[in-house]
């Protein structure tokens, strides 16, 4: 098992290399370079443009040199934890992202936990009571959940909350806690605000996962060992929970690999609509103002979060499923 994990970890630098290339291409995609926009920004705000400073920046980014040198310089700075300076905010990108990263990851983790806690019982109930009212209800729910864009759900719920309760459910903190330092009260306040984005973001995933769980479990329930255990007089509840459910969860673990990228991807839109202090709305803002080093850094972070998700799913799978462990060794 250790061997398998090490093999996976060795793949990581290679993936990071490819992702950094993709991010760099995205940074370079818009016309014009960073310095030109930077100078335009400076002169627009009325600051004087210092020629020596410009030359130093030109040297730092390697703007006169070929693309691959620019890339290498960028990666070199990345490795020193320097993501560049934001044009828009006039602050280092590491700071800007750092402030919001924790909340981004927290929202992702909460949503992930929510989907699993909801999807597995729904899947089990739908499979064991196939074609019941409950099963049909969740089939309909699944179709509608997948067909509704997340921002629609967010907008409708925000509107309902505003219309019937007169409250605005945007953001992750009440106004008195927005800029406050971390305290117990702030954590409680965060949890009070977190559940709605979590439910909205998790709905689509819950629907899909419950569907997978139901299909897996239905396959297992038809197998002869079920008859055998029933013939021996095992109680139905114990029987279902002990054997088929455990087997049906295995394929579900492998869905983490594709669910994580989608989760973070979807959070960009929900966070923008609900004005959450995560890196999603910042990505949108930086793209619109062509603040490309900030945008590229955020995309890199998203890619990194997505690989970590895949890595977790691989490790969990090999831990849960002895068949994979045997195959690998």
């Amino acid at each position: 098992m250790l061997q398998y994990i090490i093999k996976r970890l060795l793949l990581l630098p290679f993936l990071l290399f490819i992702f950094s290339v993709i991010a760099f291409i995205l940074i370079q995609a818009p016309p014009g370079d960073f310095l030109t926009s930077y100078m335009a920004e400076l002169s627009a705000s009325g600051s004087s443009v210092d020629r020596a400073q410009i030359e130093a920046l030109r040297e730092l980014y390697g703007l006169d040199q070929p693309m691959y040198i620019q890339y290498l310089k960028w990666v070199g700075r990345l490795l020193q934890w320097d993501l560049g300076v934001s044009l828009d905010f006039q602050r280092p990108n590491t700071e800007l992202i750092g402030e919001r990263l924790l909340l981004t990851v927290l929202l992702g983790a909460f949503t992930f936990a929510f989907t699993w806690i909801m999807a597995i019982p729904i899947g089990i109930l739908s499979a064991t009571r196939q074609y019941s009212f409950f099963d049909y209800f969740f089939t309909v729910f699944n179709y509608i959940g997948v067909a509704t864009p997340t921002f629609m759900t967010a907008l409708v719920l925000m509107w309902l909350a505003f219309k019937y309760y007169g409250i605005s459910v945007t953001g992750l903190f009440s106004s008195e806690y927005v800029d406050a330092p971390w305290s117990w009260g702030r954590v409680v306040d965060l949890l009070k605000h977190m559940w709605l984005p979590m439910v909205i973001l998790g709905m689509d995933g819950t629907a899909r996962l419950a569907r997978v769980m139901r299909a897996n479990l239905l396959d297992e329930l038809k197998k002869p060992y079920m008859e055998m255990a029933r013939a021996k007089g095992m109680s139905e509840f114990k029987l279902v929970m002990k054997y088929p459910v455990r087997l049906a969860i295995n394929p579900l673990v492998s869905t983490i690999g594709w669910y994580f990228p989608l989760l973070f991807s979807g959070s960009v839109i929900v966070a923008t609509v609900m004005n959450l202090p995560t890196i999603g709305p910042m990505l949108l803002r930086s793209l619109i103002s062509q603040d490309m080093f900030l945008a590229g850094s955020i995309i890199l972070i998203y890619m990194f979060l997505a690989i970590i998700g895949t890595l977790i799913s691989d490790i969990l799978l090999v831990w849960l499923d002895p068949r994979i462990r045997m195959e690998e060794s």
Partner: protein, 394 residues
């Protein structure tokens, strides 16, 4: 026994037995004929028979045909020019059409009375039940060209020519543009963007998936890793960055095609996997080996023998890919990164409802979202039905 008694019970006695036997043999012959029909039916016919049994999928098919008709003739279904704005007609709420009043079938809408709020400087509207605006079917309105060819001014719904006032079935937006007419025009763009993006995905998917599955070996390995890497990327941030990089001065058509290509850059992977899997499975089949032994060229083996065997699967998978593309375009345009005004798509329409302030003022701006949900729902159900029917021998 009297004749009357005989006629009362036609199902007893030797005659009835003979009848029953005839009926039975007739049914058997029918069954044999059916079996023969199944036996000789081409693949697509089998798929169609199986698909027909899925009632909900057939129903979704009809809804989609209706939506496609709207996409073909958006002007006919519009009540007003979608770009026509009016400074004094902003945020008019939904006016429902009433079909009956005391006098029977007289379709009409209630008029609206507006005045400017002196504080917020915004128009506020009140439904005026004393004023009835008659509505006509096939009424004359603004002139347009049907399919871009036939000049006409007939619209499905419209106000009678002599009456003052207009109808706004879904209200108006910030600039006083008619939401219903814009929705009709957005249908064309949003639906076709999904279709075009999927056509590009099919092209890349069949090409790369086919190469991967047919040749195997190192090429297969490289393409498989490429698919895995692309699938592990969070798609929306990547799409956002790519669409944000499109030059602002591009025309609507250029942006439109650029977006379809950007969407299919990641979208082809699902199809690529499907095609590869089919190729791998079919490569070992007897009929493919037979074709190769008979001296068919590689191209002929692929296109004459292998591709028809999985066309139904490709169609099913593609149908399921269209709604994903539609939703993604809606996401991008909603964020202001996809299509930009003056282009009209569902995402562009929903952009008007981007924050709480606008939907608190004008909740009807969210209604175009229903069009997205209905279309995506119908496409998903149709796709599921096709997928179940795609393998008629299972």
């Amino acid at each position: 026994m009297t004749a009357g008694h005989e006629s009362k019970s036609p199902l007893s006695g030797p005659d009835a037995d003979r009848l029953a036997v005839e009926e039975l043999s007739g049914a058997l012959i029918g069954l044999a004929k059916d079996a023969e029909a199944i036996y000789v039916a081409p693949n697509w016919k089998l798929v169609w028979w199986r698909f027909k049994k899925h009632r909900l999928a057939v129903f979704s098919g009809f809804i989609l045909i209706f939506i496609i008709i709207i996409a073909l003739f958006p002007d006919f279904f519009s009540t007003q020019d979608p770009q026509e704005s009016s400074a004094t007609g902003s945020f008019i709420p939904v006016q429902g059409v009433h079909f009956f009043d005391e006098d029977g079938f007289v379709p009409f809408v209630y008029g609206v009375e507006g005045q400017r709020n002196p504080v917020s400087r915004r128009m506020e509207w009140q439904i005026d039940e004393t004023k009835k605006i008659p509505v006509q079917f096939f009424a004359a309105g603004y002139s347009y060209k049907l399919l871009g060819l036939i000049p006409t001014d007939i619209h499905l719904l419209g106000v009678a020519e002599d009456s003052a006032g207009a109808i706004h079935l879904l209200g108006t937006d910030r600039l006083g543009r008619d939401q219903w007419s814009r929705l009709m025009h957005g249908t064309r763009v949003s639906l076709s963007i999904g279709l075009v993006a999927v056509i590009f995905s099919i092209f890349f998917g069949i090409l790369l998936g086919g190469i991967s599955g047919y040749y195997g070996g190192v090429i297969d390995l490289v393409i498989q890793r490429l698919i895995e890497i692309l699938q592990s990327l969070p798609p929306i941030p990547i799409w956002m960055a790519l669409t944000a990089a499109l030059p602002r001065d591009w025309s609507v058509e250029q942006t439109y095609f650029a977006i379809t290509i950007i969407l299919s850059l990641i979208g082809w992977t699902t199809l690529g996997r499907e095609v590869r899997g089919r190729f791998l499975a079919l490569r070992e089949e007897d009929f493919v080996v037979a074709a190769q032994l008979a001296g068919c060229s590689q191209m002929r083996v692929i296109f004459r023998h292998m591709v028809p065997a999985f066309t139904s699967h490709i169609i099913a998978t593609s149908t399921l890919a269209v709604p994903v593309m539609i939703i993604n375009e809606t996401f991008l345009s909603f964020l202001g990164l996809g299509l930009r005004p003056p282009a009209i798509s569902w995402g562009v329409l929903l952009q008007e409802a981007q924050n709480l302030q606008s939907i608190a003022l004008a909740p009807w701006l969210l209604l175009p979202g229903l069009a997205v949900i209905i279309t995506v729902l119908a496409l998903n159900i149709l796709g599921d039905g096709l997928r179940d029917a795609a393998d008629p021998y299972s």
